[in-house]
């Protein structure tokens, strides 16, 4: 056996106090294409980013060609010959393609002369080598995302990288571009370079990968040659964990249809989405990251409205063109990324809690402190938000308590339809259980709840029905007593994107 190119031992990584990667050992050989598979948040991208110097491991050692290396920055990774091709291309949109290929290369002083002819010729050669037709003199922003991705790949190859990490490179590509990419990947492999391939598409993994490593809950579960594993094996290894301890303890009466969505579509995001949501019902939406779940939620809430299809509320057709419309119709949306879209980070807990009800706290257009205080202390008691004082900046609270505050804010508007997007992500187990109770109580009080979640146990234990989305399509609508983790995963994993 040859010495492995990369040998990682005992790699752990925590963000804040949450461990996302725990004690991972992995060897990567020269000239292999190695797939990393796992559910969302299983740790595969974190592991890749540690190799690329984006994150620093909390613990563990990485050896490159048998000598210990400390990959403390993306620059050092580059110098060591490790290139990461990001999911979203990182480029300079106003500069030409040719410049993007060479920008920041080593060995150039600030006053080194730029030789445009040579640079453009060289860029053209690289594009020809890749077999893609891209005008290298136009600005990067004039390119499609797929072409931008190709430029990123060209750059990684040109930098003589020994290890090339591709994080879901095929997601934005057309089938033809995917086969071009695979052709390149095979050639790189023949040259003895190593590729890490992160993808959700099992068929693609089978087509080009030699070995796979499966991650689950931050741990490496298995590493094997791809031929030894059936699709069922892979899915079982990806999800094979016991159901969470939480069991549903409420019983809501399911009433009339509250929200009805018919053939909803938005170009480039989702199409043909049809489902009903009844009063007192909790409907889960499962699927992988990028399946279009959040886009549907944002369309219903009017942030980026759908172009096609209709939305009915209480059996009346409605037109939602912005969030204000949605709020008036009794819809509330707790977004996925609370730091960006949820909290007002510079304001106090109290101001955050009352932000959605300006009319209630200011009866005559003048804010009354008494009302502010009474509304916020009511929420703090009801949802047992743990804090030092209501005047505390909200960012000082833990993630779970921030999330409670956002939910509490919406409850003040007395919404009839609640859309919760990954409400328990990054929240401790204890607070999670409280959240589940809260969602249950809300359903019992006759509210309709749409719960987007990537955690299968959460969907299975909490929901009456589970919808599954994959690549912008609704691929399953399963009632809770028929649903299993396997069924959901099968519907969530995209079908063959290309023919072999």
């Amino acid at each position: 056996m040859h010495l492995p190119l990369v040998s990682a031992r005992g790699i752990s990584k925590s963000f804040a106090s949450i461990e996302v990667l725990s004690n991972v050992d992995l060897d990567l050989h020269n000239g292999e294409i190695h797939a990393l598979l796992g559910e969302n948040g299983a740790g595969k991208s974190t592991f890749a980013k540690i190799l690329a110097g984006v994150h620093k491991p909390t613990q563990g050692v990485i050896k490159l060609n048998d000598s210990i290396v400390e990959i403390s920055s993306p620059m050092i990774a580059q110098e060591l010959g490790i290139a990461l091709i990001h999911q979203e291309p990182i480029s300079f949109p106003h500069l030409s393609v040719a410049e993007n290929l060479v920008m920041g290369q080593k060995g150039n002083g600030l006053l080194t002369k730029v030789n445009w002819t040579e640079m453009v010729d060289h860029a053209r050669q690289q594009m020809t080598m890749l077999g893609v037709e891209i005008d290298v003199t136009i600005p990067m922003q004039g390119l499609s995302i797929a072409d931008q991705q190709m430029v990123e790949i060209a750059r990684a190859i040109a930098s003589d990288a020994r290890l090339i990490i591709m994080d879901e490179p095929t997601a934005p590509l057309t089938p033809r571009e995917v086969s071009t990419l695979f052709g390149i990947a095979r050639r790189l492999k023949e040259e003895g370079r190593t590729i890490i391939f992160i993808s959700h598409r099992l068929e693609e993994v089978r087509m080009i990968c030699d070995r796979v490593t499966i991650f689950r809950d931050g741990e490496r579960i298995a590493t094997n040659t791809i031929d030894e594993l059936s699709d069922e094996d892979v899915i079982r290894l990806m999800i094979g964990r016991p159901l969470g301890k939480y069991m549903r303890k409420y019983n809501a009466d399911i009433g009339k249809i509250a929200l009805s969505v018919n053939k909803l579509g938005l170009e480039g995001a989702f199409s043909d989405i049809t489902f009903n949501l009844r009063k007192g019902e909790i409907v889960g939406v499962g699927g992988l990251v990028g399946a279009g779940r959040t886009d549907v939620a944002r369309a219903i809430f009017g942030i980026s409205p759908a172009q096609k299809g209709t939305i009915m509320i209480n059996e009346r057709k409605v037109n939602i063109s912005n969030p204000a419309d949605a709020i008036k119709l009794g819809i509330a949306y707790v977004p996925e990324d609370r730091a960006i879209a949820g909290i007002f980070s510079s304001l106090s807990v109290e101001h955050n809690l009352t932000a959605a009800i300006p009319k209630k706290i200011a009866p005559k257009n003048i804010i009354r402190r008494v009302l502010e205080t009474s509304f916020s202390s009511e929420s703090i008691d009801k949802l047992s938000i743990r804090l030092a004082s209501p005047d505390q900046p909200i960012v000082e609270l833990s993630g779970g308590n921030q999330q409670k505050a956002i939910l509490a804010r919406w409850l003040h508007t007395d919404p009839q339809i609640l859309i919760l997007d990954e409400p328990t992500r990054g929240i401790d187990i204890g607070v999670k259980a409280e959240f589940y109770d809260m969602i249950g109580t809300l359903a019992e009080s006759g509210r309709a709840i749409l719960l987007i979640s990537s955690e299968l146990p959460e969907l299975l234990s909490l929901c009456d029905r589970i919808l599954v989305m994959s690549e912008g399509q609704l691929t399953a609508d399963i009632s809770s007593h028929e649903a299993t983790q396997e069924k959901i995963m099968k519907a969530a994993v995209p079908k063959m994107a290309i023919s072999a």
Binding site: F92, M103, L110, I145
Partner: protein, 328 residues
Amino acid sequence: MKPILKFLSGREAGIFVMIILFCTAVGIYKPHFISSNSLRIILLLVPLIMIGAMAQMLVLVARHVDLSMGSMLGFSAMVAGLMYRDMPEIWWPIGFLVAVGTGAVLGLFNGLLVTIFNLPSIIVTLGTLNLYRGLTFIISDARQINRANIPSELKAMSQTSPIFGIPWIILMSFAIALLTFYLVRYTQLGRQIYAIGSNPNAAPLRGINVTKVTLIVFIISGALSGLAGIMYASRWGFVNPSNTGMGFEFQVIAAVVIGGVSINGGVGTVLGTFLGVILLGCVAAALPLLGIPGTTQSAIYGSVILIALLIDRSVRQRATANTKRSRA
């Protein structure tokens, strides 16, 4: 043929057309506007703004802004003026070194605040705009450097010409424009300034030393403001702590924005900036001819900035729409 077509489709052609239209319109109304004499007037109005505009272009391309230029101009001119007054026998070209050096130090101070303390450049330079102006009063005891103290050789640079009757200071401003063109087009530094402005997050990941490049940009801005300061002394023959350089940054920003430099970074050309300065010079030269009082100048510069920003916005929106279409 191809470069000509490219020029015609770009922003520069638009400004060029605007210059022609404006001059023709004024020329019809006041025929003697189209003469070599008024060309001379226009050219004498612009050298300082030209030099400032080249520097401000670099700053804006890097996604920053420098509001302190006028005060840096004033302070540097004052330092050089004080030297001339207190050391009359000094070799007069030393004034250039002193003014440019002083400006560079002031620019370095701006740059350090922006990079090391990570403060927004608009606030930093708003602060130093007042700080440097105040220091100018302090070092000069609030007194003007008079005509008698400025070396006659320096003053002569605004009148005498080495070639074609074009005065020295105009030639120098064109030389600065050419140097800037070389810098942005043919050096790594120039390209990195664009890269930083185009995507500040990607720049460090690509191995660009953002701190260093940003510092250099602010030093250039200070140094060129200093150069404009000594040229002010040459052109007007005095240095006044309160007037010299007052409002300079706004004329400069007007010219640069008209020239198509984006305030969102990453976009801007030397040719566009050059034409923006010329257009502004034409407007300034035409105002007295048309009987519009000088008191309205500020209002006109202000409106011009706003109009240019509106044009910039509509152009940008069209560009984004195009990208979106090509993605879909």
